[in-house]
């Protein structure tokens, strides 16, 4: 399973992602500069967190036109895996690879904290090591993570099982208090129709070792590695 970690000007979680894949998972990984126009040879593209292009205009708005994004879209079209984390999720929405948008947090505060995530769909290449309803502790770190989509899109996401993670209490209950940013339906992560592109605001790469306060994030990365066959079977 070869990972490619995309680096835009202003990306800040690229080294965290690289570390988690390389040192913790022992999987091959390379950085991909945003000017690169070809991502062939990679199985999974990671769009990490940060502030690509300074978040100017809107989060992810400029990044969606970076040369590498054409290649990432082509990779997704071929059925390759793409995971966008935090700013990566924002970029995927701006680029139209995922529906909806990430608005300013309801509180207007930048939220850097641990959250509980409930696994809503364990039948994806990103969650195959998890079970439905399983709760993970994963940190967030963002100012614009308030997921919004119109009613029809939201219904479609829910009906087709494409809401992958939801913010919840430690016992799995979905409550307004557990929602750190005002996201509709407590949505923390969604995937595309085909199931090979995932976007999530929380940072699994920052909790892959007990030394960092928790290692639940490892379950997502290990799912990607073990779910390689799932991806290959995608239509």
């Amino acid at each position: 399973m070869k990972f490619g970690v995309v680096v835009f000007p202003g990306t800040w979680s690229d080294t965290d992602c690289f570390h988690a894949i390389d040192t913790v998972l022992h999987e091959p990984v390379e950085y991909i500069w945003h000017r690169q126009t070809d991502v062939q040879g990679f199985d999974c593209i990671v769009l990490p967190g940060g502030f690509s292009y300074g978040d100017y205009l809107r989060t992810g708005a400029i990044a969606k036109f970076a040369p590498v994004m054409t290649a990432v879209a082509e990779h997704a079209r071929r059925g390759g895996l793409v995971i966008g984390i935090c700013n990566g999720f924002q970029i995927l929405c701006e680029a139209g690879l995922l529906p909806g948008a990430l608005l300013r947090n309801q509180s207007l505060q930048f939220r850097c904290m641990w959250t509980n995530l409930r696994t809503e769909n364990a039948g994806t290449p990103f969650t195959s090591s998890l079970s439905r309803g399983q709760v993970m502790r994963v940190p967030i770190s963002h100012g614009d993570g308030n997921y919004y989509a119109d009613d029809a899109t939201l219904k479609d996401l829910e009906d087709s099982g494409r809401v992958v993670f939801r913010y919840c209490e430690a016992d799995g209950a979905i409550t307004p208090d557990a929602n750190p940013n005002g996201s509709l339906h407590n949505i923390a992560g969604i995937m595309n129709e085909r199931g090979n592109v995932l976007g999530m605001m929380p940072h699994p790469e920052r909790c892959c070792e007990p030394l960092l306060g928790g290692d639940d994030g490892r379950l997502i990365l290990e799912s990607i590695v073990s779910g390689a066959g799932v991806a290959a079977g995608l239509k």
Partner: protein
């Protein structure tokens, strides 16, 4: 040359926590009659073209493709010779 004054606003259905917070500030300042505030963006774009139809086409396309996100925002623009 044309000057496009481009206004980007949140769609009516989209919640605007910034606007709500600004409204609270205005209330604190004594503007108790303020019922709603919506915060948007304003951009001035100078276009090097003499053809008004071309300027309109460019302003519209750039607003749609980059300056606004059609999922959450609407846009409008005024065009003046500059």
């Amino acid at each position: 040359m044309f000057l496009a004054k481009i206004y980007v606003t949140l769609k009516p259905a989209v919640n605007d926590p910034q606007g709500i917070t600004v409204r609270g500030g205005l209330h604190n300042l004594g503007f108790t009659g303020v019922t709603e505030v919506r915060v948007g963006k304003y951009m001035e774009v100078r276009l090097d073209t003499t053809d008004e139809a071309d300027a309109i086409r460019q302003a519209d396309e750039m607003s749609r493709k980059l300056l606004s996100n059609p999922v959450i925002e609407d846009y409008r623009f005024d065009l003046t010779p500059a």
